[in-house]
């Protein structure tokens, strides 16, 4: 089932990508599905990985190489065997794997040269074209430990995905204008929103504005939770994962 569709809400948790990966680790016939799911997750969360490598002091080029090699490593068939339920969340497992990978890579003097091993995605395409969703100070980037950078980027990716999906759901119903008008109030408390002003601006009744904002907020929450759920094995972990990411964001400047 496609978790992105989100039509069935929480019921989709049973087929989250990460749980699929974990459950299929030892099943040959499920391997391909699991690898696809893993690949999908990696595609979504490539930026945290790259930023982590970068924060470990690698040059951009080297970081690109390492990231690509890391993807290759974890997408290898046998990598799934190492994924077990005790490892918990995809994020933490990925980070741990990445750390191990970099340690091992550093030990190898024969690091693969850029492009020398196997042709890969052009980073120019991939990176330069990717507008960053993350606005963070240079100082913070320099001062924060790589693990924190990883978490920050991860959190941002999660949020951005949910946000973009919300936008597109609105757009597909010709309501991009509504999204643009209301989305900035998603995080506002009710008393912080001037419904009257919005009503006048949009030319729709105040009650309609209220209802729309309420529903937009609810839908956003669903999308966000769905996004997070893809990376945890147990639906009950969604709250914990969100809290963890919140904590990393809240302390990011300390």
């Amino acid at each position: 089932m496609n978790g992105h569709e989100g039509a069935n809400g929480p019921h989709e948790f049973v087929t989250t990508r990460w749980s699929l990966i974990l459950s299929a680790a030892n099943l040959t016939n499920e391997e391909q599905k699991a690898r696809d799911a893993l690949a999908e997750l990696c595609r979504t969360y490539w930026r945290p990985i790259f930023l982590f490598v970068r924060a470990r002091g690698y040059s951009i080029e080297d970081a690109q190489d390492r990231t690509q090699d890391f993807f290759v490593t974890i997408l290898k068939k046998n990598w799934l065997q190492h994924a077990d339920r005790n490892r918990g969340r995809f994020r933490s497992f990925l980070l741990k794997s990445l750390q191990n990978f970099l340690v091992n890579a550093a030990e190898k003097s024969h690091a693969h040269k850029r492009g020398g091993d196997v042709e890969f995605i052009s980073w120019d395409d991939w990176m330069a074209e990717a507008p960053s969703q993350l606005s963070i100070s240079v100082q913070a980037l320099d001062s924060l430990p790589p693990e924190r950078i990883f978490d920050l980027s991860w959190a941002t990716t999660v949020v951005d995905h949910a946000f973009q999906r919300l936008r597109e759901e609105c757009e597909s119903k010709n309501k991009l204008w509504l999204f643009q008008a209301l989305s900035s109030y998603l995080t506002n408390e009710r008393d912080e929103v001037s419904y009257a002003e919005l009503s006048a601006e949009l030319g729709i009744a105040e009650t309609v504005v209220k209802k729309q904002l309420h529903n937009m907020r609810q839908r956003y929450r669903s999308l966000l939770r769905e996004e997070v759920s893809q990376t945890v094995a147990d639906p009950a972990d969604v709250d914990d994962e969100i809290r963890y990411l919140c904590a990393s964001l809240a302390t990011e400047t300390r």
Partner: protein, 734 residues
């Protein structure tokens, strides 16, 4: 990190301003300015889950007038369509006031920004198509948020989809339309653009009722990923896409896939339904993969049998069995329109049996064994044959001799009946000539699933001049050009998975099977075994053989080890689903590549004029072609080099613009001694006359629009023949 770093660094955009959130004091925000932390916390708030459907129904309650908004220079008027990959609007160009259609990508559908970049490139390529039956694209641009969109002609009359009912009553009109569409598709193929999602909804009609093919090559880019669940949303046009598009090798689509879709669209127009139906897209795809398309006339008995044959040819499951190009299909449709005989023939009974046997190899094996056992028992039981049967046995011996020396017969022999010919294709290694080209005496016919094979010319054999030994054959004509999309570009869609996953990489390789083409009109030619033996006019008895798999144990006694054999890297052998891989042969030290490995391969690539081909892709593969170990590109001088290999035997495959051109193998790479493998394409029309020395010829099929191919490639043999089987070293042409 320095400031200069950050300028070129694709890291997060930097800001020295502390912009703490008033609520949580966090500083990280989305581009829109909303605090990421606060957005995250929203996920912890209570409330009911709201599904997409219910949310959009709430959205629909807002009946406020549509607010005009702009996408680049276009004022968006209304949404007129929404597909798996994007949204289409009716829009007004800001200055010209022209009403156009604007299509934009949904970023979430695009998976990655790399995909968007490819979308842009592809859109630009499509925009360059200029054909009266291709929907013109006016502009490719991107919105403020970096998402690409393009504007195109607004086709007011809708698509074939809306006209299916009325067109069904006019079969001739349907064929006329599809002939035009096929020509448009052929034109696009010739420009390196595949459609990949041809369906009635993508064939629009202009105000004169002329067809306009839209959405060229776009859908695939954005829909191409391996996630089955995701694919479910993209299989909205199941029933029109070729079965090979639905497999793991979905990224690997050739013009044959478009030919299939054209046939499916024609089928749909004539019968009112696509060839395959099912409860869901997956079941439709499965049916398309596993069963033969229903006969057209089983659904519309009044239709002409030739049209049925044409549809059936398009809808062959084997890409190589379809029309080899959209242009050929168009010509066929024109023939029918003109009342001339069509070229395709209905699939014969033997071919059906052959296909069945392909699908049920175990049953065939069991049946064959049973028959052999039975025959043996009968023979033993009867003891010495009666005198009257001696002739039969000699006939049998003669048949066997023919198997050993296939050049002694020819399926083009007019005396040979259809049944005889069909029997021949089960003979391994048999080369079946066709009926048209006999001008060259060194041609090989049949489906050449891989782009190369090698023929050795030998010293003149005693019976070489015997006309009966002449192998009259022709090389399978070239497939149309493949799209100008390299495997590398496909990677993101197929995901990184492909990088070192041999199976996935295999899937990403061009489908050599579907690249192959069939000169022989009979469908069974396409299904002939891929072992192709080539006898030259000079030495049919000792003719070098080319096989689709290792034949070292099958070499004719006379050939011994000097027989040149080359493994033809077919898609089949690469993926090798039947597990009969050449493991003994595939023992390349593939897993221990290091930069310290001392062996290397180098060489050059030159075209038929002797000009270096720069930027060509070379894959250093394991001997069986299953693993890509290294890649290299040629420099401006056409040279390439790949270091750090362990000593061993490798296959080097050349691809130009993503299309595999040739593949050669080396002798065992030696320590500290670069092995030179050159791709030197030289036109030698009279190659067969070149009997002096030990010449080797590599055939590279033509590719439309390519400056190489369609020639014999001549290479000199250094004589470093591998002592075991089919390895050779080639030296530069002098």
């Amino acid at each position: 990190m320095t400031d200069s770093d950050s300028a070129s660094d694709p890291l997060p955009s930097s800001s020295t301003e502390e912009a703490k959130c008033e609520k949580c004091a966090a500083t990280i925000r989305l581009d829109t300015g909303i605090c990421v932390n606060c957005l995250l916390r929203e996920g912890l708030e209570g409330g009911d889950e709201v599904s997409k459907t219910s949310y959009q129904s709430v959205l629909a309650e807002v009946d406020a007038p549509q607010k005009s908004w702009f996408l680049g220079n276009y004022e968006i008027l209304e949404q007129i369509g929404c597909g798996g990959m994007g949204v289409i609007y009716r829009a007004r160009q800001r200055h010209s006031r022209r009403i156009v259609a604007v299509k934009r990508v949904l970023s979430y559908r695009a998976d990655s920004h790399g995909a968007l970049q490819r979308f842009r490139r592809e859109a630009q390529a499509v925009a360059s198509l200029d054909h009266p039956n291709i929907l013109p694209i006016y502009e490719v641009s991107e919105s403020e948020d970096g998402l690409p969109f393009f504007s195109m002609k607004l086709a007011d009359k809708g698509s074939l989809h809306e006209h299916t009912t009325s067109l069904r009553e006019q079969p001739r009109k349907c064929v006329e339309l599809m002939a035009k569409v096929a020509r448009a598709v052929e034109y696009a193929h010739s420009r390196g653009v595949l459609h990949r999602d041809l369906k009635p909804g993508n064939i629009l009609l202009d105000d004169r009722g002329e067809p306009l093919v839209s959405d060229f090559g776009l859908a695939k880019l954005l829909d191409g990923n391996n996630d089955l669940t995701r694919s479910l949303t993209t299989f909205g046009t199941a029933g029109f896409i070729a079965p090979e598009q639905a497999g793991d090798s979905a990224a690997d689509v050739t013009p044959a896939a478009d030919v299939y879709s054209l046939g499916a669209v024609l089928f749909n127009m004539l019968t009112g339904r696509p060839p395959f139906l099912g409860a869901n897209p997956v079941s439709v795809i499965r049916k398309a993969s596993e069963t033969q398309a229903p006969k057209l006339r089983s659904l519309a008995p009044s239709l002409d049998r030739d049209v049925e044959t044409i549809c059936a040819r398009c809808l062959e499951r084997e890409p190589g069995a379809r029309y080899r190009s959209a242009g050929e299909l168009a010509a066929e449709l024109d023939r029918w329109l003109d009342g001339r005989p069509i070229m395709a023939r209905p699939v014969s009974a033997p071919a059906r049996i052959w296909r069945w046997s392909q699908r049920n190899p175990k049953l065939v094996g069991a049946a064959t064994a049973g028959i052999l056992l039975g025959a043996t028992a009968v023979w033993l039981f009867r003891g010495e044959p009666q005198a009257g049967h001696g002739g039969d046995r000699s006939h049998l011996a003669g048949s066997l001799a023919e198997v050993s020396h296939p050049a002694k017969t020819s399926s083009t022999d007019p005396r040979m009946g259809e049944r005889d010919r069909s029997n021949l294709f089960t003979v391994p290694g048999y080369v079946s000539p066709t009926d048209s080209e006999a001008e060259s005496n060194t041609r090989v016919t049949g489906v050449l699933p891989m782009t190369e094979f090698i023929r050795e010319e030998r010293d003149t054999a005693p019976n070489s001049s015997s006309p009966t030994n002449k192998t009259v054959a022709n090389v399978a004509p070239a497939p149309p050009d493949t799209p100008n999309i390299t495997g590398r570009e496909r990677l993101p869609a197929a995901l990184l998975l492909a990088k070192k996953n041999p199976a996935a990489m295999t899937a990403a390789l061009p489908d050599t099977e579907s690249n192959s083409t069939v000169r022989d009109r009979s469908s069974e030619a396409a299904l002939r075994p891929k072992k192709i033996a080539v006898d030259t006019t000079t030495s049919p008895a000792k003719g070098a053989s080319i096989s689709g798999r290792d034949r070292s144990s099958e070499a004719a006694p006379g050939a011994k080890k000097s027989a040149r054999e080359v493994t033809v890297a077919t898609a089949e052998t690469r993926s090798n689903a039947n597990g009969r891989d050449r493991s003994p042969e595939a023992g390349v030290p593939t897993s221990k590549l290091t930069d310290k490995s001392p062996a290397s391969i180098q060489g050059f690539v030159k075209d038929a004029k002797g000009e270096p081909i720069k930027g060509a892709d070379l894959r250093i593969e394991s001997r069986d072609g299953k693993q890509v170990l290294r890649t290299a590109k040629t420099d401006p001088n056409g040279h390439y080099s790949s270091q750090g290999l362990q000593p061993g035997v490798y296959r080097v495959t050349l691809a130009v613009n993503g299309a595999v051109k040739a593949s050669i193998m080396n002798t065992r790479t030696k320590v500290n001694q670069p092995t030179e493998l050159n791709f030197d394409f030289k036109k030698t029309p009279k190659a067969a006359a070149n009997t002096k020395g030990r010449k080797h010829m590599v055939w590279v099929p033509n590719r439309t629009g390519s400056h190489i191919g369609g020639t014999w490639v001549e290479v000199d043999d250094k004589g470093n023949e591998h002592s075991e089987s089919n390895m050779q070293t080639y030296a530069p042409r002098r």
